[in-house]
């Protein structure tokens, strides 16, 4: 695909019919969580869309996010969208390496100054920059350099969005999220460990279609995908309402597909689209397969207590501390009572007519 081509022309050149294009638009609208009535709008926008340049940077990450996006071995709708963008740099996917690759990145940044989209996966070590470098450049410096002239940043995965597992206590590398370093650019957090692949492509499709930043929630996540919690859209919600809970992973309730609240499901406090978009081509999602949500799209999900502790469980502190409080109370009580009794005795002793 040539860079000056728009998407409509590109698809026609690929022999995609108008009918096929409309189908693509319907699926894309569905992907972006737009109502079906928006299809014509999407079609119009896509037909004339310029393909954006995308620079993808991977920092302290596990490649899970990239895996999530590219796990498919055959062309899919997502890959079509990928085709429609100009992925000018992706360390993991590109064939080039070393100085050549870095030169390509710099060239793309120069050529699309102010227009390219910077996709980041992985957190950034912010204490000792030596923890993670690429071609001798620290992640921190590379991010600042790449962010300077970008149009917007998409922080893919919980690491880039919120610091992720590298940020887990005691955070040896001083890992931080993109938003803690870059303050002057729009940042779209596509959290999840990994994020749902169609959410990543959905966000890119939004850029492709409208060229704008989608509506974001308080944590910088697109409301279209992160606007509702798992619990509210979970098909097991009726069991919660009826008070039918699986008590263990192998009991009758678990077999009958009852609510996993008691087994630590974090659905009520987790905002993501798993319950509707699902995973693996819409096959299933964790709760459907019998395991509670671990809340991977939420900040610090790894440090919020056990995955199997119910949300409503509290940290009561140690028994000793409570006993200590009781002992202190008892001591104060005895002391105050003895003082009061002394006063009473004194009053009784004082003879006064």
């Amino acid at each position: 695909m040539r860079k000056d081509q728009n998407l409509g022309e590109y698809l026609r050149m690929q022999g995609v019919s108008r009918r096929g294009f409309l189908k693509f638009c319907s699926a894309t609208a569905s992907l972006m969580a737009l109502p079906p009535s928006a299809v014509s709008q999407v079609a119009e926008a896509l037909a004339t869309a310029r393909r954006p340049s995308v620079i993808w940077m991977s920092f302290q990450e596990c490649t899970g996010c990239t895996e999530s996006l590219t796990r498919s071995h055959a062309p899919t709708l997502e890959s079509l969208i990928f085709d429609a963008i100009s992925l000018d740099y992706h360390h993991t996917l590109q064939a080039a390496a070393g100085h050549g690759a870095e030169a390509a990145r710099e060239a793309a940044m120069e050529e699309n100054k102010g227009e390219y989209i910077l996709v980041v996966d992985g957190s950034i070590p912010n204490g000792n920059n030596g923890y993670s470098t690429i071609a001798g450049i620290s992640n921190h410096d590379m991010l600042i350099e790449a962010a300077e002239n970008c149009f917007a940043i998409v922080a893919v995965g919980t690491c880039a969005a919120f610091g992720g597992l590298p940020n887990a206590d005691p955070n040896p590398t001083g890992a931080v999220s993109v938003s803690e370093i870059i303050k002057d650019k729009p940042i779209i957090n596509v959290s999840g460990c990994p994020p749902i692949p169609v959410v990543i492509t959905g966000v890119l499709a939004h850029f492709l279609t409208f060229g704008t930043i989608p509506e974001l929630d308080a944590l910088g996540r697109p409301v279209a995908f992160f606007g509702q919690n798992i619990h509210d859209r979970c098909y097991r919600r009726p069991f919660y309402e009826r008070g039918q809970f699986a008590e263990t992973f192998d009991d009758e309730g678990a077999r009958k597909g009852w609510c996993l609240y008691k087994l630590g499901c974090k659905g009520p406090t987790t905002y993501n689209a798993c319950a509707t978009l699902k995973w693996n081509q819409g096959t299933s999602f964790p709760i459907q397969s019998g395991h509670g949500c671990i809340g991977c799209s939420e900040p610090r999900f790894w440090d919020k207590g056990g995955f199997y502790d119910p949300i409503s469980a509290g940290q009561w502190g140690s028994r000793d501390a409570l006993l200590g409080a009781a002992a202190a109370g008892a001591a104060l009580g005895v002391g105050s009572a003895l003082a009061a009794r002394a006063r009473k005795k004194k009053a009784q002793a004082a003879e006064e007519i």
Binding site: S336, A337, A340, R343, K344, A347
Partner: protein, 444 residues
């Protein structure tokens, strides 16, 4: 029997004379507050502390109080009547006093003055509120501590102050002393009723009250007849016959202890096994339940009320009563200090039924009985006259509802108060005493 008695009118005149605006003790305001607090500190104990700490301020106690019911004045809610005590407790005695002090106002002389009306005029200490409290708080006990505080601060109403001083200093009440008792005994002797006065040894020591000597000598005579009939080895001592205790009524410890001591020492001296209390609720309560505690050691004798004595004698076969067959009905007015504060509720009823009388219960009876309206010395207070009359109307209404021919009671204070109430309102239902009824029905 027809023993010379003071008329009710004369007695009421005597009471009116005592309502004088004499200056009480000359104390500074600071002194009054300090002395009130001292008395509170003396009387507060673990029970009262738990009570103070448990009150929910639900206000249900108001629904049990005859004064609130009669006036619908929220200040008469029993819980409010011990408010200064609670404030004192919270500020100075409670475990959390350091915390509460920041939020609780200290008590002032103005408070004490205001509460004089609430705890003397507007409370007879009947304890009906104690029975309604869902937390089991002894509200009347807390109000009694209030009286102690006010007495310490010199806020006892003049009428009570006068009779208290009389009992403390002269060992007489309403001018009734050894001489007056001796005169009564002589009059009775002339009628053939033997009263073994001032014996040096006796199993049973009978007490009486100035009210009986003055107003109800028939009741005293009846008691003597019953004791004689039962063949008791008894006496009454001219130097220790007064059962009434103005000390406990006013909240004055020295007088209370002095009056108890007079009885206890004499009863021990004559080797009495039993001290028989006359028809006086508070006198029974004082000696029966406070006596040992105030003396600091168990009593060497039993304290028995006259209804208990009569019921026991009937049961033992020493006393035979005539059985009425005219279908007469009575209602029994439970004196609060005999019934809900003393546990003597069944015995008087047993005695009445033993005489073949139909006992018709008032809607509220036994431990939930309405007060006569003038207990705990309240009947002597001129300032409480209106309030007392209104409370009496409740009692009157309940008695009228029973349709009984007469009211029988076991307390001369109740009897006086019911009679005063009847006198004021032209009520005609006869008010009589249990002993007189028994004495009139002694079988030969």
């Amino acid at each position: 029997m027809n023993t010379e008695a003071m008329s009710l009118q004369d007695f009421r005149g005597k009471l009116r004379e005592m309502s004088v605006d004499t200056p009480g003790r000359d104390l500074t305001d600071e002194d009054r507050v300090r002395r009130a607090k001292k008395a509170f500190a003396q009387k507060l104990n673990g029970h009262r502390a738990v009570d103070m700490d448990t009150c929910l301020q639900c206000g249900m106690c108001a629904e049990a109080c005859h004064f609130y019911e009669a006036t619908q004045d929220e200040r008469y809610a029993p819980v409010y009547k011990f408010r200064p005590l609670r404030r004192f407790y919270r500020r100075e005695m409670s475990p959390m006093r350091w915390f509460y002090r920041a939020f609780t106002r200290d008590i002032t002389v103005a408070d004490l003055k205001e509460w004089q009306h609430l705890v003397y005029d507007a409370c007879t200490g009947c304890g009906r509120c104690d029975m309604i409290c869902p937390m089991g708080i002894k509200i009347s006990a807390a109000i009694r501590v209030m009286r102690h505080g006010l007495a310490g601060a010199g806020f006892v109403p003049s009428e009570m102050r006068i009779i208290r001083d009389e009992q403390r200093d002269k060992n007489t009440l309403f001018g009734v002393g050894a001489e007056q008792l001796r005169a009564l005994v002589e009059r009775l002797g002339a009628q053939g009723i033997n009263v073994p006065l001032d014996r040096e040894q006796a199993d049973v020591m009978l007490l009486t009250t100035a009210i009986e000597v003055l107003l109800f000598p028939d009741a005293f005579a009846a008691t003597a007849k019953i004791l004689n009939k039962a063949g008791a080895n008894w006496t009454i001592r001219s130097d220790a016959f007064e059962a009434a205790n103005v000390g406990i009524i006013t909240g004055d410890d020295p007088t209370m202890i002095l009056a108890i001591k007079r009885i206890v020492e004499k009863a021990s001296a004559i080797g009495a096994k039993t001290v028989l209390m006359p028809e006086s609720g508070h006198a029974y309560q004082t000696l029966r339940w406070e006596g040992a505690n105030e003396m600091g050691e168990p009593l060497s004798f039993d304290v028995i009320s006259i209804p208990e004595f009569v019921a026991a004698e009937i049961k033992a076969g020493r006393l035979n009563l005539k059985t009425q067959t005219n279908g007469a009905s009575v209602t029994y007015h439970d004196p609060c200090r005999l019934s809900r504060k003393g546990g003597v509720t069944q015995q008087p009823r047993d005695v009445l039924t033993a005489m073949g009388l139909e006992v018709r219960e008032t809607a509220s009876n036994r431990r939930e009985n309405y007060c006569c309206g003038g207990g705990c010395g309240e009947f002597v207070l001129k300032s409480a006259a209106d309030l007392r009359q209104k409370a009496f109307e409740i009692k009157k209404h309940e008695i009228d509802e029973t349709g009984a021919d007469a009211v029988v009671t076991g307390c001369s204070n109740c009897r006086v108060n019911l009679m005063i109430g009847a006198d004021n309102s032209g009520w005609r239902t006869p008010v009589t005493s249990l002993v007189e009824t028994v004495a009139a029905n002694l079988a030969d």
